[in-house]
């Protein structure tokens, strides 16, 4: 199959994945509720009602995003496998990379929806300017970065009894550079410093690296 055909099919797969995510909203709603609950817990744990909010918020936000995102993407291929869709896709002429990219893009879009909603809520809760263009760009790049790796690792997660617990253990150590860069970029953006650029560059570098390596490795997992 040539590239334009693969792209066309990829678009259709993305559409199908998004429709499936919308139909089986439970996992995504659960991830959203987990994110909100975690944010509240952090508020109590670190007493985020006082003046120390802006120094702690970036870390709080990104740990919430990572945990809820990884739990949500952990179910990526579960439905497809149960319904036999994954096996059918594997024996079709559709390239594995197309399957992976479609799934990852669907995950990214769903997670961005949750994260932007959470940022809006956190803006109201903590009276901090969290819904700015710069911050939304940082969140988008970071989300692409961690979703790329966690979607690949969710395929590894199949057929395991302790699957739910294993994925964060696998994914989180790999995501340390992304966490550091995201938190520092967010912190610099909140404090309106000029130093967001190096961190956004590191974040972009990690995102490009993780996306490229996950896309290249996924076919080997077949």
């Amino acid at each position: 199959m040539n590239l334009p055909t693969q792209l066309q099919i990829g678009g259709k797969l993305l559409n199908a994945n998004l429709k499936q995510a919308w139909r089986d909203k439970t996992d995504w709603i659960t991830a959203c509720m987990f994110a909100i609950t975690a944010l509240l817990l952090y508020s109590f744990a670190f007493n985020l009602t006082t003046g120390l909010v802006s120094s702690l918020l970036p870390g709080v936000i990104w740990t919430v995003f990572l945990f809820s995102g990884i739990f949500a993407t952990g179910q990526s291929f579960q439905q497809d496998r149960q319904n036999g869709i994954l096996d059918a896709l594997k024996i079709s002429p559709i390239h594995s990379m197309t399957i992976y990219i479609a799934k990852t893009l669907a995950n990214i879009l769903m997670l961005l929806l949750i994260e932007f909603g959470l940022l809006l809520g956190a803006t109201i809760l903590f009276s901090e300017p969290l819904f700015t263009l710069e911050l939304l760009i940082i969140v988008t790049i970071g989300t692409i970065g961690y979703t790329a790796l966690s979607t690949l690792l969710s395929a590894i997660n199949l057929d395991r009894n302790n699957g739910g617990l294993l994925l964060p253990v696998l994914a989180l150590p790999l995501l340390v550079p992304l966490l550091i860069a995201s938190v520092e970029a967010t912190s610099a953006s909140l404090q309106q410093e000029a130093s967001t650029t190096p961190w956004i560059l590191l974040l972009s570098l990690f995102t490009i690296w993780s996306t490229a390596i996950a896309t290249l490795m996924f076919p080997l997992a077949d």
């Binding site: 790796l149 690949l152 690792l153 395929a155 590894i156 199949l158 057929d159 395991r160 009894n161 302790n162 294993l166 253990v169 696998l170 150590p173 790999l174 340390v176 550079p177 550091i180 860069a181 520092e184 190096p198 590191l202 570098l205 990690f206 690296w209 390596i213 996950a214 490795m217 080997l220 997992a221």
Partner: protein
């Protein structure tokens, strides 16, 4: 063929070489090496700390290479080799962290500093622990598990430079109290002892890797024989 012949000599060569080298290393490190002026005798922990770190990098490099070879050739002996090497890597990483803490306490006054190298070593430990947990939680002969875990180990290995870089940038942004540098430029005598120690510990690591690989290969063989025995018993009944 030549490589196979070299590999066949491993039981005859590695144990005596490693054993003698380690005894020599202990003598050199504790007796012959000069005492460092600033840090005193505790600086001699360099001769176990640095070689342990290098041995762990060596073991994890072997793991990554074996994972690549497994993905290319789909031969389970490479998967076994990767697991054997990973265990050795984890042990040396743990020794690096412990000896580093014991060295750090009298010098820094604390057992842990968020130094980029030490932090990266800890994350390296977590990554390859996760690799082994994932691999061991499935059947040894599971092709899917072996493939996926090999992919994870390769990604983890390639991620290390990025982790080191990001932790180093993070630390420079958050200034630390001025601490004594652990190993300023070494005088020649210390450098020689350090190099000898590195070679000694790496030869031990190589020996342990061959033993670890042997263990994994025997486990694979045992699994196959159990399957055959089970088939024979069910045929009989």
């Amino acid at each position: 063929m030549f490589l196979n012949n070299i590999y066949a000599l491993r039981w005859k060569v590695l144990p005596p070489v490693a054993g003698v080298a380690m005894i020599g290393m202990a003598a050199l490190a504790l007796v012959t090496a000069p005492t460092e002026l600033i840090e005193g005798d505790v600086q001699r922990l360099l001769y176990v700390h640095l070689p342990s770190a290098l041995a762990s990098y060596f073991a994890f490099t072997v793991t990554a290479v074996c994972c690549i070879l497994f993905l290319l050739k789909r031969d389970f002996k490479w998967d076994s080799a990767a697991q054997g090497a990973a265990v050795v890597g984890l042990i040396f990483t743990l020794l690096t962290l412990i000896t580093g803490s014991l060295w750090g306490k009298p010098i820094w006054g604390v057992y842990w500093q968020w130094d980029p190298r030490i932090t990266t070593t800890l994350i390296l430990f977590l990554i390859f622990s996760a690799y082994l947990i994932a691999r061991k939680s499935s059947s040894l002969d599971s092709d899917k598990s072996a493939r996926f875990c090999s992919i994870y180990a390769i990604i983890g290995f390639l991620d290390i430079p990025l982790i080191h870089m990001s932790v180093r940038w993070w630390r420079t942004l958050h200034p630390q109290p001025i601490i004594a540098k652990l190993n300023p430029a070494l005088p020649d005598e210390m450098l020689l002892v350090t190099l000898f120690s590195v070679l000694a510990v790496i030869s031990v690591a190589a020996w342990f890797i061959t033993l670890g690989v042997e263990t994994e290969l025997l486990s694979q063989r045992l699994l196959k024989l159990k399957a055959i025995a089970k088939t024979n018993i069910s045929e009989k009944s």
